[in-house]
Structures are given as C-alpha cells and as structure tokens.
C-alpha cells in the first residue's frame, strides 16, 4: 500500500504525541486526513472538543499547549467546542477523600469559568487572544450540566453498562490504587463515562487531551459507537515539563510560567529552560522551525523565550522584556559592573523576603518591603517575588544574584 508520507497538515501534526484509534499509524493519519477533506468538501467544519475542569483558575503554559492546538483548528476553519465541566466540579468527590475533587458551589464554578475564559481571551480581538472568540462559528463554549443534569437513573445505568470492571481496573491510576490496596469509591468509575458522554453530547469529530487522558478520550469513542455516532479521533499532546526540566509543569510544584505573568517574568523564566527541555518548549509553545533556531544553546534559549513571550504579548513587548532582562545581567557578565552591590553580611538566615529587602537596604522598613512585594515591584533575577514570606536558607542561595525594586533600582547581592 502506498501511503503519502505527510498526509496531515503541519499545523495539525506538530507536537502530536498520539493519534488514535490504535492501528497502523499511517492508516489513522489517512483516516483523519480523509475526514478533514470530507469536511472541506461538505463545507462542514469539524467539531473539536476540549474539556476543562473549572476547579482552578490560573492557566499556565503547560495548559496552553492544548489551547494552542485548538486555536490551530479554529484558524483552519473548524469549530472549537470548549466544554466546561461545571457539573462534575459541583459534584466533586462525595466521599470528601479526594483532594483533587473538591466540591465547589455553583458560584465558585462560575467565577472560575469566567476567570478561565478571560485568560483564554474572551472579549479580546483574536490577535491578542489564545482562542478565537471573535470569528463566528469558530467557538462553542458549553457547560456539561446542560446534558448531565437531566440524566435519569435508566440512562446512568445505560452508561455504566457500556464499560466493564476489568476495563476500569486496567486504567493506570485505578490499577495502581487497586493493586496498592487504596480504596476506589464506585462513583470514580462513573467519571470517565460522564466525560466520554460529553463527546456524544457535542458530537465531537476530534478530542484533544494530554497523553494522560488517553483512557477518557477512548471512552468518548466507545460511547459514540454505542450511541451510533460517527466516532471521534483522539489527538494527544505531550505533557509539558516544568522549569525544573524534570517534573510536569504544575502549580503545586512551583515550576510554572503563568499565562498572565508580566512579560519580563515570563521571558526571564523561559530563557533559563535547560537543554533537555528546550526542544519541547519550541515545538509545543511556538511556531518556530527547529532549523531556524540558533545552534548556540544560550542563543537558542533566548530565541525560544522571545518567541513564547511574543506569542502572548506581541513582538514589540517581548523585545522590551528581552532588553530589560539583559540589563539584569544574571550571574556574571560584562554589564555586571553597572549594577551596585549590596552585602548580605548583615542578614540573618533563614531570611524571609520582606526582611531581606529591608536588611540589604533596598527598602526603608519591613512593612515598606511587604507593601512593595504585594504590589508586585520586587524581583530576584527578573522573576517577580510573589510571597513576602518566601524564605531563603543561606548566603549561597543568593550571592551573585540581582535584586530589583520597581523599574530602576537594582542591587547585586554579595556575601
């Protein structure tokens, strides 16, 4: 069989970790390519599902990978179907044992959803937004309460009947918990089915997800088959590694770059991403071709940081951030001499941030330092200090670094 080597357009294939149904990868590519072609012929945009959980509110770059792919579908003329899991968030975990499934009120869910949509660019022109909220027909925002609220017991029994205990216990996290003797409450088996039923409700052609979502996305396919629908493709993207270069980007690990961080913070964090992770960042967070990047690792970091910051704030602002970061002259370097020094000799460790700022004389008092930190004016090595009580353990943790207050005051910390 002759298979065209590149049957999928680059905007779609870029960064893809998995495409299924399983089978010969070329066949699957061709099947999706055929559906794209048919859609074009019929003038019917594909419906591309992405589910979000309105339990948190701050979107970071790790999340943005999926939204970028969704936007790529929008830009190619398809319909993004963004599903807010309001129903499941309101149910939470009835046993109260799961920290990841806190039960939220309707008000909390709606507040989170609003914050989420604002970050995705609701109300903004599409050039400045992560998703295209502007062009008619390119976005449907749906809440799953719309179809889940009305499910009655016979329908729930019907859903449960489509899957087996064995299937569920083959799922990675359930397998581990069952094997390890950690109780699994029965309703937890229902959640993947409800998520799958969302695909039925919105008649999805494609579902996007992280590689950790394969089970749930496959469930959507199974249920569509049960409901005699055309089944969706599952398009999985990798999980972005955090700034530490080791673990997945996650707020609780403190290794994130927030979508709403200011340009200087964003740029400064990104230009330190290590060799092991940089290719993933380029692939998943920019549209740059790898060949177009400088070979020099330091220059490559800068090019990536510039491109990601620009994709969020535009090239002009990103270049300004790059210039500002350069004046911070992190570590050693030619411009280092321009920055006045401040001695750490009078500082008692461990030292909290607000105390540090007053102890090195950059602020007049601890309370002044607290105000400045809360106002977002204090930075270390270009990164904003968020918490006045952030603790530093020793001189070695700080020496050689640049502390900044506002736009003009810089101090290089010396022992």
């Amino acid at each position: 069989m002759t298979v065209p080597p590149h049957s999928l357009p680059n905007w779609l294939a870029r960064g893809m970790a998995d495409l299924f149904p399983d089978g010969n990868p070329d066949d699957v590519d061709q099947a999706l390519a055929a559906r794209l072609a048919a859609a074009e012929l019929e003038g019917r945009p594909l419906r591309v599902k992405l589910g979000i959980d309105p339990t948190g509110s701050d979107i970071h770059l790790g999340h943005s990978i999926l939204f970028r792919k969704l936007r790529a579908f929008q830009d190619a003329g398809h319909t993004a179907v963004l599903i807010i899991g309001d129903f499941t968030a309101r149910i939470g975990d009835p046993t109260g044992k799961s920290a990841t499934r806190v039960q939220l009120t309707t008000e909390q869910v709606e507040a989170n959803a609003t914050t989420y949509l604002r970050q995705l660019g609701q109300g903004q022109p599409k050039e400045k937004a992560l998703l295209d909220f502007e062009t008619p027909g390119r976005l449907e925002v749906r809440r799953n309460s719309e179809w889940l609220e009305g499910l009655d017991l016979p329908q729930v029994i019907g859903l449960l009947g489509t899957a087996t205990v064995g299937q569920m216990l083959a799922k990675d996290d359930f397998a581990k918990r069952y094997g390890g003797g950690t109780p699994i409450a029965l309703h937890e088996f229902l959640y993947p089915l409800l998520q799958g039923y969302d695909s039925v409700a919105v008649d999805a052609d494609v579902e996007l997800g992280g590689t950790d979502q394969k089970f749930n996305v496959a469930m959507g396919r199974d249920l569509q088959r049960q409901f005699s629908q055309r089944t969706q493709f599952g398009l999985l993207l990798p999980i972005l590694v955090g700034l530490d270069g080791v673990q997945k980007m996650s707020k609780s690990l403190g290794n994130t770059v927030g979508l709403e961080e200011d340009p200087l913070s964003m740029y400064s964090k990104l230009e330190k991403v290590g060799d092991a992770a940089i290719n993933d960042y380029v692939m998943l967070l920019t549209d740059l071709a790898n060949e177009a990047l400088p070979a020099n690792p330091r220059e490559k970091q800068k090019a990536m940081a510039l491109a990601v910051t620009a994709s969020r704030y535009g090239m002009h602002v990103a270049q300004k951030a790059q210039a500002d970061a350069a004046t911070l002259v992190a570590g050693s370097g030619a411009a280092a001499a321009d920055v006045p020094e401040a001695s750490l000799s009078a500082v008692n460790f461990p030292a909290k941030a607000f105390y540090l700022l007053s102890a090195v004389g950059i602020c007049a008092s601890s309370s002044e330092a607290r105000r400045q930190i809360k106002g977002g004016a204090a930075r270390l090595e270009g990164e904003k200090i968020m918490d006045p009580n952030q603790e530093f353990g020793s001189v070695s943790e700080l020496e050689g670094k640049v502390l900044q207050l506002g736009k003009k005051t810089f101090r290089r910390l010396v022992p």
Copy 2:
C-alpha cells in the same frame, strides 16, 4: 455477662440461618429482642422488608419460606413491607448478556406482579392466604420505581460513593467472575446499592432474605447508616433444597413444588422427599415440632407432606390428597392388584407423553391425549404430566408405575 438462653421468640428464631450485624450472636439476638420490646412499648410495629423480583411468576415452596417468616411477623403484629422490584425489572441488563436479568415492559412487570400477589393470597381471607392481606396495617406493597424513578445523577453518584470497588469484588459471585476473567459490567455494581436504598426508602427495621442475599441486605444497613437512619437487622433463612435432595429448589432444575399445584400433586411429590432433606422441610415449611413427628422415615415423610399440603389447602383437602395418593399404590404394595395393567410392549422409545397415552390405550388418539394432558387430566404416579411432549427414554423408566387419566382411570404399566 448473663444472656437469656432464648431471647428471641420461637416464631422468629425458627429456621433462622443467620442474624446480623455480625458480632457475638447472643448480643445480636438481644439487640433484636430489645427492638421488638421497644416496638411493643411504643405501640410501633416493626417494618419488615422483603424484596421480590417480578421477573418470573410461579411461586414454589422454596420461595414460600421467606413469605412464611414474613407472615409470622404479621401475625405477631408487625408490618410486612413487600417491595416489588418493578424498576430494576424494567431496566434489566442493558448489555443483554445476562439471562437472569431480562428486560421487561411495564405491562409484563405488572402482569407478573399481579400473578405474584394473587399467589400470595391477595383478595383472600387470611386463613387461606400465605400473607395477611386483610388486617389493616399488616402489609404494605410498594414498588421501588416509587423512589428510584426520581433519582437524579447527583443522587446516584452519592449512592455509588458509599461503596468501594474492593467491597464489591469481595462479594462472592463478583469475586468468582473477576477471578475467572468473566466481564462484569459496571452497572452490576449499582444493583446491590439500589436494593440497599430500598431499605432507606421504606425505613426497614428487619430485612428478610435467603443466605445468598447477605451482601445485599448488609448494603441496606450501610446505606441506612449513611442516611442517618436506625439500621435494619438482617434475618437470613436457608435456601430450600429441591425434590432431588441435592440442588436448591429452582424451576430451571425441575425439582420444585409449585404453590399452585393441586393437592394430590403437592402431596405426592412431598411424600417422596428423602431423609437428608426432610428435617429442613419440616423446619422451614411447617410449624410441626420435630418431637411430634413419627420416628419411622416413611411415616415422617407422610406427616410432613400432609402438614405442608394442609398449610396450603387446609387439613380436610390435604387428608383427601393423602388418601388419593394411597390408592395410587406407587411401586409395589397390597392394593396394587386393584389396578389394571397396560403393556408397554407396543411402545416405541423414546416416547413422548401424548404418544404414550394413546399407545397404551388409555386415550383413543394422540390428539385426544394432547387435549387431556393440556387439560391437566393425566398423571404419572400421582404427579400431573404438564407437557404433552415430555419424553420417556425406555421401558425401565416407566415399568411398575401408575398412569392415571381423570379421576377414575388407572393403569399400571408393565413391560
């Protein structure tokens, strides 16, 4: 601790296989005795739950054990709460794989329920009925659709959240199937919870069940606790062994005595119950004291058969059946000479019942034989022949037995 040796009245304790919650059996007995005493003091009858599945319709003596216990509670002044599982019967098994969970229409369910209630004695004076339908306050017939139909998804999730996968897989039949690699559909885990929720809905003090129902009855206790109710006691009775003396009495095994069988059939079947099972029959189907029974095994069989038939039809009818059975002189015996013989020499084996009747000359033709069998007029050894196509394999299966047509025609079959 001094425990009264007989803290439970005999009408309640008779035949009991298990009483729980688990713990020191005397403590449990005392707890139930205390609830009985409190009920009497408060003038509040206990609510005694028994669930029935309206999927079949013919009640046999195996089922009647539980109804007899329910009746004993009624006679002691308590309220029988008979729950017809109409909702679950209408759902059936959505996967269509389970032969024991056929999906029924509302009409089928109601027809079965009506037949069931008629067999239990609806519309009859309590002396002639298995349950007391007459005395006000002694019986509530409820359908579980009453409370299950209105359950919404959050409530179902709440129910599912009260149990764990481990608990379910510890259940005997699930354990076997999971261990043996037989798929278990997820909705099957919901059924024990729905059955347990019935206890919540009717606020049961006691639930009756066979020993194979312990898991489900315990589920009712758990759910009552979750719903902050006083928890029910589980009172389990043995599973009656069938006429073969080996397997449980079950229509599919052909070893039953139907509650609606005529007195002669009932008596004739029962007087052949073997030594191994007879004590159980006496204990579970009669009120006879074991000491009051004759020591001679043959006489004991007759006494049991008479008592069971009398409990259904009254002593007068039962005695008539006993006398009729005696005239059939099963096998050999003094009266055998009175019965004319019919030769099997002209019969080709295997022989169907309708052919047999015409071949031995007791009916004029095969079609006449069919009519007689369908009309219930043909018996072999006192037991009605139900099916014109019932097959007999060889002469040895029939020789020496008495074939009967109507009330007056008897033939002893000889080779």
